[in-house]
């Protein structure tokens, strides 16, 4: 206690900014919290967990850990805030340097981001323990086979649908995969391609379609009743596919599906559309055989990779698929790379794969309690794969990069919000909220009148609209900021303008992100198998847009911190 008091006095009388921001006790607390959560993550993983969960990735948010994290964060924030806001050099006109607020922002930012980093620390603890429990050499081999076989595993759904997969280097020259190039960029590319079987859309009777073919239920935009479509049709763009058990699905289809449960070829929209490619019947057969091979291998768990590759090669030859599956060569390639292939894929059981039971209920195959699951796959081998995918490969790197960027934005936003109240009042911030709302509405109206001037293949109209709204808001705030300064408004008004910028400055980040994205992606048109999504810097999706818009920092504040002294000292009129 005495030592703590001595240290505190020393900082107070030598480094007031370090003392004011309570950086030392704060860093100590945050690092301790990281250590505790690392240990929690480490201790949360055991063999039983590995065998009964298909992924470790979201444990932090699924279990109570996130609650502890939030509560501890709030407690630390309240205790720290009570101390931090007690003292204020700027409002009392004590001498401060030009860099004062920048230094303060940095000192707050570091512990904030370290605290927000705790989920990653938790995952690191999990990963360490998972690696301790697994033979990583085996995992690497399993993963390699998984990578090479993945293009032929067609049960995949959700984010890693068949058409979105990235393919290993050796497959890149296969005609088989070239179709996917058209699928990559945009759904609009489906229209008018050569394998589009438009005439099937006009067939009204299901019976004619069901014979030996996979079919999908759909309804077009103007038709209330459902229809069936052959799996190799590409008219997805104009239609809405139906899920057999989804609440949003048509009751008629659900009823139909229950009645025709024996029809094995009827699928909901989530099922893969493998049969779109080439000869549907042949490909179905091919896929089934290929699946069997892969699954057999997985069941055996320790089968030789060479044997597997050879079997894959034979199958490709049998069905006339041009390939360069040199089994020996590829094995050599894998061995040279110590089985650490740079392009990996998700595990095919992810998502909503399952089957319809006799009562019309959807049973998820990835439910560990489902006996079907155990029948279909060797359970432990699958978990090995998943853990490997989550922690050992670049697949996770993609998510980490994305998450770290979001984390950085959020931490910076939080930092600037905490800093704001060193010069601005709570009232001025609160007032800025409805003002920002009015400006947003005005901005929306203006953008709608202009008929959405932003357009592009990569971005949805909604997101473009938001960007436009924020552009208007940002310009408004800049206007308030500039004219407020010119016209000699008092500090109160300028503070409101600062508050407004909290809602407007995300534009700068959006623009910056767009710029990077454009610079990195427009130089060449790349097919998907050469440019898997995890290798992109990041794609600017709607979801990304929301993150950016909601959690973006006060960049304008950061830029304006130089002028803050002037605003604080401004004379009232």
């Amino acid at each position: 206690m005495k030592l703590f008091h001595k240290l505190s006095t020393y900082l107070l009388t030598h480094q007031p900014l370090l003392w004011h921001t309570r950086i030392i006790p704060l860093m100590f607390t945050v690092l301790l919290a990281n250590l505790i959560f690392f240990m929690l993550g480490y201790s949360s993983v055991n063999l039983y967990n590995l065998a009964h969960n298909y992924s470790l990735e979201n444990w932090f948010f699924r279990e109570y850990y996130v609650l502890y994290w939030v509560i501890l964060g709030l407690v630390v924030l309240i205790i720290w805030g009570a101390s931090f806001y007690r003292y204020n050099a700027a409002k009392n006109f004590y001498p401060i340097s030009k860099w004062y607020f920048h230094k303060m922002a940095l000192l707050i930012f570091v512990p904030v981001i370290l605290y927000l980093f705790i989920p990653f620390t938790f995952y690191s603890g999990q990963a360490l323990q998972a690696r301790n429990l697994m033979n990583m050499k085996e995992v690497a081999i399993v993963d390699s086979v998984q990578v090479y076989s993945a293009p032929f595993l067609v049960e995949n759904t959700a984010d890693y649908e068949f058409n979105r997969r990235s393919y290993p280097e050796m497959y890149k020259n296969l005609n088989y995969f070239e179709h996917d190039n058209t699928e990559y960029d945009s759904w609009t590319h489906y229209k008018g391609v050569e394998y589009n079987i438009k005439d099937l859309l006009n067939e009204k009777t299901a019976e004619s379609l069901l014979e030996n073919r996979n079919v999908y239920a759909y309804r077009s935009k103007d038709v209330k009743k459902f229809n069936l479509i052959r799996g190799d049709s590409c008219e997805y763009y104009e239609t809405e596919f139906l899920h057999p058990v989804s609440k949003d699905s048509l009751p008629e289809f659900h009823e139909f599906h229950v009645k025709n449960y024996s029809i094995e070829n009827l699928f909901g929209y989530d099922y893969s559309y493998r049969s779109r490619i080439m000869n549907a019947e042949n490909l179905d057969e091919f896929s089934q055989k290929f699946n069997k091979t892969i699954h057999q291998w997985i069941d055996q768990s320790h089968a030789k990779i060479l044997t597997t590759l050879e079997e894959l090669n034979k199958l490709c030859d049998q069905y006339g698929i041009e390939n360069n599956l040199d089994a020996k060569g590829n094995l050599q390639y894998l061995e040279e790379n110590e089985f650490k292939v740079s392009r990996t894929l998700t595990f095919p059981l992810e998502g909503e794969e399952g089957y319809m039971d006799e009562n019309g209920q959807w049973v998820y195959l990835n439910d560990a309690n489902n006996p079907m699951f155990h029948q279909a796959y060797n359970f432990n081998a699958l978990n090995d794969l998943l853990i490997n995918v989550s922690f050992a490969h670049e697949h996770m790197y993609f998510h980490s990069t994305e998450m770290l960027l979001i984390l950085g934005y959020f931490a910076l936003g939080t930092t600037m919000l905490l800093l704001y109240f060193q010069w601005g009042s709570v009232l001025s911030f609160v007032i800025s909220i409805p003002v920002a709302g009015v400006l947003t509405i005005l901005g929306t109206l203006i953008v709608l009148l202009l008929k959405n001037p932003w357009s592009g293949d990569y971005y949805s109209p909604i997101f473009s609209l938001e960007v436009s709204v924020y552009l208007v808001m940002a310009l408004s705030v800049l206007g308030v900021y500039y004219f407020g300064k010119q016209l000699g408004w008092n500090t109160y008004m300028v503070n409101i303008a600062f508050g407004l910028s909290y809602f407007a400055v995300p534009l700068w980040i959006v623009m910056f992100t767009l710029l990077i994205h454009q610079l990195l992606t427009t130089s060449t048109t790349v097919p998907c198998y050469e440019y898997p999504e995890w290798q992109e810097p990041f794609s600017l999706t709607d979801g990304w847009g929301y993150y950016v818009l909601l959690y973006s920092p006060y960049f304008m504040f950061l830029l304006s911190l130089f002028t803050l002294k002037g605003f604080i000292a401004k004379k009232e009129g």
Binding site: T13, H20, R86, Y87, F93, P95, K565, K570, K571
Partner: protein, 383 residues
Amino acid sequence: MTLNQRTQEIRLHFQNRDFDLAYSNLLDAVLESENLSLFESIISLELWRENRADADTQLWVDKCLEINEQLEDLDIEPKKTKSVLLSCSALTKTYANGKFTLGPISLEVKPGQLIGLVGENGNGKTTLLRILAKEIDYSSGTLHYANETDFDNNYDHRTKLTFIPQRTQKWYGKIRTNLQFCATHYGIFGRRNELLVEMMLIRFGLFKFRDLNWSELSSGYKMRFELARTFLRRPEILLLDEPLANLDVFAQQIVLNDLRSLAKSSYNPIGIILSSQQLFEVEKVADEVLFLKNGAPKLRQFENQKEENLIMVELETSASREQISSALSHVSAFDIHFNGGMYVISSNAVSDSNQLLATLVQNNIKVHYFRDISTSSKRFFTH
């Protein structure tokens, strides 16, 4: 006054048993010496006194005199001060609604000068102080600070302008911590910071409250805290708005004496402008009084003679108005006003107030209170 004269004066005060005055002068002298070993001696002495409730006064005096002797051995250079700290000319302020106009005011503040700002409520005292403190802008005229060229911007300049408003802001945390936080920002680091803050706490009578929170202090001590914080900032000019409000009579005397003493420091004289409703108390310590009536100024320098040879006195007596008039009947021209508790008698037919007093006493008027306000700003409140 040289340091030697000052230490002699301190010794004399101790000999005359004016202990409070002697001790505050000793503290001021030690503070001005900036000698850390003397700081430590004073703090040790204070701790010694604090820990011994039955401390022998003579022993304490001896210790004080010992420190005073150490002070004599020092060679302290007086600080160079500017001839004029602040000057304003024809300064006016008109609010947007046009209902009130302040000024035009012309004023000069020199080091060591204490100017009182008086006037009824709503006559512009606070507005003037806020303009001088650069809190609000003025409409016309000029305002110059001697040190304004030393700073790049308004903020940095305001770090040297110390304005204590009537309602001081709320402070959080211990008062010592707040003072140390302030001192560090003004470049006072390490051991010097700790000692100087403790000296300020002693100087303003806050030492025993050093570990209390601001909210635990009484109004008088809150004002003393503001003064301690202000003097840590080494101001060249100090602006105070109603510092005597909410203080008891005793506290008012202490604060005023402190301000006068600090303004008149031989080594670091500062300029002080203070506003107050306590006319008598302000006039006792101020070099000049600026009276504001509806925003218009009337500057009164005490060296000047009374206006138009008018003698004006305040009189409290049990005698009736008729008895007073009868007593003064031979005075050719006089005027009597009664404000309910006090008579105000004015005349330009007498040479001084003694003559009036003598006349009243000779005519058996029982005098409870008598004060000559011929040169006081108080006369402005009687018309």
